[in-house]
């Protein structure tokens, strides 16, 4: 490049003074420093002085100098060239450093964002691996303690190099030491490939969470140690992400435990109160028959009737509890068949007849109800529970209305009674297990019926809701999806039986 400048400057020397030729050489130093860096700039400085002396200073084509003044020129020229070269490369270096730091910042920022959004450990580990691959061209391994406190690899780096993601014994013991002491360790002699290894502890707020191992690939130019502060930042990001996942898990587990605890205590309360009450009545009623030798015949009959009614009530409670237990245990499988809804409705009314003995059940069905794909036994349980509830919560001789509507996508069935209605602030809660409408105690029950209804209806892909109609009473409506009934090939209606003698 200096030779090129000498060549270009040669013809110009006829017009230009040697002072200006020096300027051109100096300009060239700036270019060399920008393009090739510090070493090239220093070399160019010396070469420029030599070329200037050789070509431009008389006598030309010789390193000897006639005018002693030029020695000063050479010295100044060399000093200026070296300074310019140094300053220029320093500026470039700084710009490069700034760019690299900006890249790292962007990478870190992106990693932080990904880690904040990660919902699972594999997702987190995947984001970390990707970060190290892209930013540092390095392989990363996350070691987390399992239940027994043993450090295990959490997710593998998916690069082709991952076949030696298995840890060597040396790596393992080094990781153990880092995990226990919480100090960083830099070692080039750990892995299979002798590449540089940096082991960083993941230090959480309450305890050490694990170890991050970063393994440099051989062609990586910079050393990992020079990146320590950035790697520490990454390690703390990873720790935060892992801790967050840990606490989410803990929270979920606690929530589950609270729920199952609530269920357990609910069942115990139900068993101890609602089952024991009819049992006490049964025992007492039977005992009056045993103890009272003078009892009148009419009283015997009355007592026996009471015993029978109490037993039936106890039976319906136990049935509901067992159904609920089966649903909760996930043992309910739907045996769905296409059937006319009115058949199930009719059977339910017949089944619930005893419970609805003093009420009038009015059924309003559209003439052409389509077939629905349902488990009839379970839908019958739903209807029976709704009818029994409607009867329990309404005065004698009232009307219970069972109405069905078909829309394009679903069939809605509602059961309505003219009773006092649901507590307005707890309409949604009525379908929770052991939730009771009336708390005044004159209506027996456990708060299981509606919970069963919801479980069954939702298993069918429908939904159920409670409402208090504006004109009074209480109403429960559930829907069933219509689906596509199988094609029906009805017989040709030709042979009339009655017409044949």
């Amino acid at each position: 490049m200096c030779a090129l400048v000498a060549l270009v400057a040669w013809p110009l020397s006829y017009w230009l003074d040697n002072v200006n030729i020096v300027m051109i050489f100096l300009l060239n130093i700036v270019a060399v420093a920008l393009l090739f860096g510090r070493r090239a700039a220093i070399a160019a400085a010396f070469l420029s002085v030599a070329l200037f002396d050789f070509f431009f200073v008389p006598p030309k084509f010789s390193f000897s100098v006639n005018d002693g003044q030029y020695l000063v020129t050479f010295a100044v020229m060399l000093a200026v060239a070296l300074t310019i070269g140094h300053l220029t490369t320093a500026v470039t270096q700084r710009a490069d450093d700034a760019q690299q730091r900006a890249d790292e910042q962007a990478g870190l920022y992106q990693l932080a964002q990904e880690l904040a959004g990660a919902l699972s450990l594999p997702q987190t580990v995947g984001a970390i691996h990707a970060f190290f691959r892209q930013q540092l061209n390095a392989r990363s391994t996350i070691l987390l303690p399992d239940e027994s406190g043993e450090l295990v690899i959490s997710g593998h780096d998916a690069t082709p190099a991952s076949h030696h993601a298995k840890l060597t014994n040396a790596e393992r013991s080094a990781a153990r030491a880092v995990y226990e002491t919480g100090t960083l360790m830099d070692s080039p002699k750990l892995g299979n490939d002798d590449g540089e290894r940096l082991l960083l502890p993941l230090i959480g707020a309450t305890r050490h969470r694990g170890v991050l191992i970063v393994a440099a690939c051989e062609q990586t130019p910079q050393t990992l140690v020079s990146k320590t502060s950035m790697l520490r930042a990454v390690a703390s990001l990873i720790t935060t992400a892992i801790e967050r996942l840990h606490y989410v898990e803990v929270a979920n587990k606690t929530e589950l435990e609270i729920q199952s605890e609530r269920l357990r205590s609910g069942i115990l309360a139900a068993l101890s109160h609602d089952i024991r009450t009819p049992l006490t009545a049964l025992y007492g009623l039977a005992d009056t028959l045993v103890a009272d030798t003078q009892i009148e015949k009419i009283l015997i009959k009355e007592t026996a009737v009471a015993i029978r009614d109490q037993s039936l009530q106890l039976n319906s409670m136990v049935t509901n509890l067992l159904d609920m237990a089966r649903i909760q245990a996930g043992q309910i499988t739907l045996r769905r068949e296409w059937q006319p809804l009115d058949e199930v409705i009719g059977a339910s009314i017949r089944f619930a007849a005893a419970a609805c003995s003093q009420r009038h059940v009015i059924v309003e069905l559209p003439p052409e109800l389509p077939l629905v794909n349902i488990d009839a036994v379970l839908i019958e349980r739903v209807l029976c529970n709704l009818l029994e509830n409607a009867s329990k919560y309404s005065p004698p001789n009232s009307e219970i209305r069972l109405v069905a509507h078909a829309s394009t996508l679903e069939i809605a069935v509602s059961v309505r009674n003219p009773g006092s209605g649901f507590p307005a602030d707890r309409l949604e809660r009525m379908f929770l297990l052991f939730e009771r409408g009336a708390q005044d105690g004159h209506v027996s029950g456990m708060g299981v019926g509606l919970a069963i209804c919801r479980a069954v209806v939702e298993a069918h892909g429908g939904h159920i809701s409670a409402s208090n109609p504006t004109d009074g009473g209480a109403c429960v409506t559930f829907t069933l999806p219509r689906g596509t009934p199988p094609p029906i090939d009805l017989e040709a209606d030709a042979p009339s039986v009655s017409a044949r003698p």
Binding site: N315, W338, A347, V377
Partner: protein
Amino acid sequence: MNAGLATLLVVEDDAQIRRFVRHSLEREGFRVREAEAYATGLIDAGTIKPDVVILDLGLPDGDGKNFVRELRGWSQVPVLILSARSMETDKIEVLDAGADDYLTKPFSVGELLARVRALLRRGSRSPDTENALVRFGEVTVDMTRRLVLRADVPVHLTAIEYRLLVALIANANKVVTQRQLLRDVWGPSHVESSHYLRIYVSHLRQKLEINPTLPQHLLTEIGVGYRFTM
């Protein structure tokens, strides 16, 4: 047949249930024998030759289905099953294995007596004396002339509807599983097309019942089948 001479075998492991079943049946003049286990029940069924067997489906020492299958190997004695609720599949299996009817626990004395009487009537009826004229509600079915009248007005039934009605009448007062009806009316290759059966039963109800939604004679036994009551 004089019901007073009928002998019933109760195979049930719970002493209290045996006690009240025996008590209520004996009060009606039946002779009652008891067995409390699978093996003795089967032996008693062979030696006593009862007119009806009342069998608990939940015997601790054996499967009720196998009991019925073994029994059917050498006897056509009517079998009434006692079973707990929510065991619909078991009920269907034991009915298809040859049992005649079932009662869901807890059951009333009235239900028990009605089922036993219906089974005794069926057992005593020989095929050739079968009634040619069947009446229920306001409907009359004349089997010989294949004529169905409702309030003395002829009712138009399709061929399948008529076959279905006859199949139900043939099993009057006892439960018939969907499978049995499909096989009898549509043939053995149609036992899975249960929605056809439901549609035709619903047609029959429209034509013969006063209130098709709350039928009095063509009753649904949800999850099991149908029961035709006179």
